[in-house]
C-alpha cells in the first residue's frame, strides 16, 4: 500500500466521501472535530516513524492528503 493509500485509508474512518478526501482542507467542512487534528499528528508519527516538531505545526501540513504527503517528504529529506 502506498503512503497516499495508507493516509486515505485512515481518513476514511472519519468520512468515506471521496470529494472530502480530495479536498484542499478537510477541516473546513466540519466533518471532523478538533481532536482529529491531534489524532492525525499521532497517526503520522506512529505509521511513518516521523516526529512532528514545532515548525511542522502548520495547518497546511495536515489539512489535505497532499499536505500530509508533503510533510512526510520534507521530514525524510531533512
Amino acid at each position: 500500500m502506498s503512503e497516499r493509500e495508507r493516509i486515505e485509508s485512515y481518513l476514511r474512518r472519519f468520512n468515506a466521501d471521496e470529494a472530502w478526501l480530495a479536498s484542499a482542507n478537510i477541516f473546513a467542512s466540519g466533518v471532523v472535530d478538533s481532536m482529529v487534528a491531534l489524532e492525525l499528528v499521532i497517526f503520522l508519527e506512529s505509521a511513518f516513524g516521523i516526529t512532528v516538531e514545532e515548525d511542522d505545526l502548520q495547518i497546511e501540513n495536515f489539512c489535505s492528503v497532499d499536505g500530509m504527503l508533503g510533510l512526510l517528504s520534507r521530514k525524510r529529506s531533512a
Binding site: R13, D33, S34, M35, A37, L38, V41, E54, L57, I59
Partner: protein, 380 residues
C-alpha cells in the same frame, strides 16, 4: 483496539517508593491542604523526588515513567489528596507541550526547570466566557516587533497562586497562539480565587493581563496551532491525569466505606451484611473497577502511541469521573453521619469527585466527542 493489561507490569522500585510516600507523608497533610491551600514544602518534596516531571524521558531530565506508571502514580497521589494531584495535572500539561513542541529557546529556559519543579506551571485557557467552547477565547496577542502584547482575562486557573509561569492561549492575526507568560511579566495580575466546593487546596487564581509584553520566542508551536494542537495535546494529557485521579479518589472512598461497613454493627450484624448496603458496595466496586480497566486501556494506548489513545482517554476520563461521583456518594451514604462530618475522608472525596466531571472537559462535552467517535467505530 489497544490491549488491556488487567494486571499492569509490576511497579518499579521508584514507583513503589512514591506510592508509599503518598500513603504516609501526603496522607498526613491532606486535611491541611484541603483547609489551607497548597503547602509549598510538600510540593518541594514532590519535586525533589522527581514526581513533577516523572513522565518525561530520562534523556530530557525526567524519570522516564511509562504512561501506565504515570497513571498509577496519579491514582496513588489523588487517593490521599486530589488537590495535590491537581498540580500533577496542570503542571504536567504545560511540561508535556514544552517537551513536545517547545523551541530550543523555550526548552533552554523552561525545559529542565519544569521537569525538576524549580518553576511551577499553570494552564491558562479558561476565560469568563470561554469554558468548554475554547474557540470563544477573547484574550488577544498583538504583534509588536519581537514581542506579543497580551491582554485579556483568565479564570479559575488551578495552582495559579503558586505558578511561576502560565501557558496562556490568545488570539493573534494568524489564529490562536499558546504563549508562556512568566509570572513577573509587567501587566500580569494574579488574584487568588476563593476555593469552592472541590479541590480546595489547588490554589486557584484569576489572571488579568493588561498589555503584557511577552517575547514571541516564548510561543509553543506555530501561531495558528495554539488551540488545534497545543491546547488539544495539553488537554489530552490533562484528561488522562484526571481519569486516574478519579480512580484514586473513588478507591479511597470505597476503602473507607467498606472498612466501615465491615465494622459498624446495626441490628446485630455488620451493616455490610444488610442486603441494601451490600448492593451499594457492589455498585461501587463494579463502577470503580470497570473504570479502572478503561484507564489501563488508555494508558496502554499512550504507551504504544496508538492513535486510538485520544478516543480511549476520552472514554476513560468520562467513565472514571462519573464513577468517582457515584462511588463517593455511596461512600458517604454508607458512612452515614460520619461521612458528612467536616474533616472526614469520605466527605473530602465526595467534594473533590464533583469537580472531576467538569475540569479538563465536562462530561457533556465528552459525550459529544465520544458519540462522534462511536458513530465511526460502531456505525460503519
Amino acid at each position: 483496539m489497544s490491549g488491556v493489561a488487567v494486571d499492569p507490569a509490576p511497579p518499579s522500585a521508584y514507583l513503589e517508593e512514591l506510592v508509599q510516600y503518598c500513603a504516609s507523608e501526603v496522607r498526613a497533610v491532606a486535611a491541611e491542604i484541603d483547609q489551607s491551600g497548597p503547602l509549598l514544602p510538600v510540593i518541594e518534596q514532590l519535586a525533589a523526588r522527581g514526581v513533577l516531571g516523572a513522565f518525561v524521558p530520562r534523556e530530557d531530565g525526567g524519570c522516564g515513567l511509562t504512561m501506565t506508571a504515570w497513571g498509577l502514580l496519579n491514582e496513588a497521589l489523588a487517593a490521599e489528596s486530589a488537590s495535590l494531584q491537581c498540580l500533577l495535572t496542570v503542571h504536567g500539561m504545560v511540561t508535556r507541550v514544552v517537551q513536545q513542541w517547545g523551541s530550543e529557546r523555550v526548552k533552554e529556559r523552561y525545559g529542565r526547570a519544569l521537569v525538576r519543579g524549580e518553576v511551577l506551571a499553570a494552564f491558562a485557557l479558561t476565560e469568563p466566557e470561554a469554558g468548554s467552547d475554547i474557540e470563544a477565547i477573547t484574550t488577544t496577542a498583538e504583534i509588536a516587533g519581537d514581542d506579543y502584547v497580551v491582554s485579556g482575562r483568565k479564570s479559575w486557573i488551578s495552582y495559579g497562586q503558586c505558578a511561576g509561569v502560565f501557558l496562556v492561549f490568545a488570539r493573534e492575526p494568524h489564529g490562536a497562539v499558546a504563549l508562556l507568560v512568566p509570572r513577573d511579566t509587567p501587566g500580569l495580575t494574579v488574584e487568588p480565587a476563593t476555593p469552592g466546593l472541590s479541590l480546595r487546596g489547588s490554589g486557584p487564581a484569576m489572571l488579568r493581563l493588561d498589555g503584557c509584553r511577552v517575547p514571541r520566542q516564548l510561543a509553543i508551536g506555530r501561531a495558528g496551532a495554539g488551540l488545534s494542537h497545543v491546547a488539544s495535546a495539553a488537554l489530552l494529557f490533562g484528561r488522562f491525569g484526571v481519569a486516574w485521579a478519579a480512580i484514586g479518589v473513588a478507591g479511597r472512598a470505597l476503602r473507607t466505606a467498606a472498612g466501615h461497613a465491615a465494622q459498624r454493627v446495626q441490628f446485630g450484624v455488620p451493616i455490610a451484611r444488610h442486603q441494601l448496603v451490600a448492593r451499594l458496595i457492589t455498585e461501587a466496586v463494579v463502577a470503580l473497577e470497570g473504570a479502572r480497566l478503561l484507564c489501563l486501556r488508555a494508558a496502554a494506548a499512550h504507551d504504544e502511541r496508538d492513535p486510538r489513545l485520544i478516543r480511549d482517554t476520552l472514554v476513560a476520563k468520562y467513565a472514571a469521573s462519573e464513577a468517582a461521583v457515584r462511588v463517593t456518594d455511596i461512600a458517604v451514604q454508607i458512612l452515614g453521619a460520619r461521612g458528612l462530618e467536616d474533616g472526614s475522608v469520605a466527605q473530602r472525596c465526595f467534594r473533590d469527585a464533583r469537580a472531576l466531571t467538569i475540569i479538563e472537559g465536562t462530561s457533556q462535552l465528552l459525550e459529544v466527542l465520544i458519540a462522534g467517535s462511536a458513530v465511526r467505530d460502531y456505525g460503519a
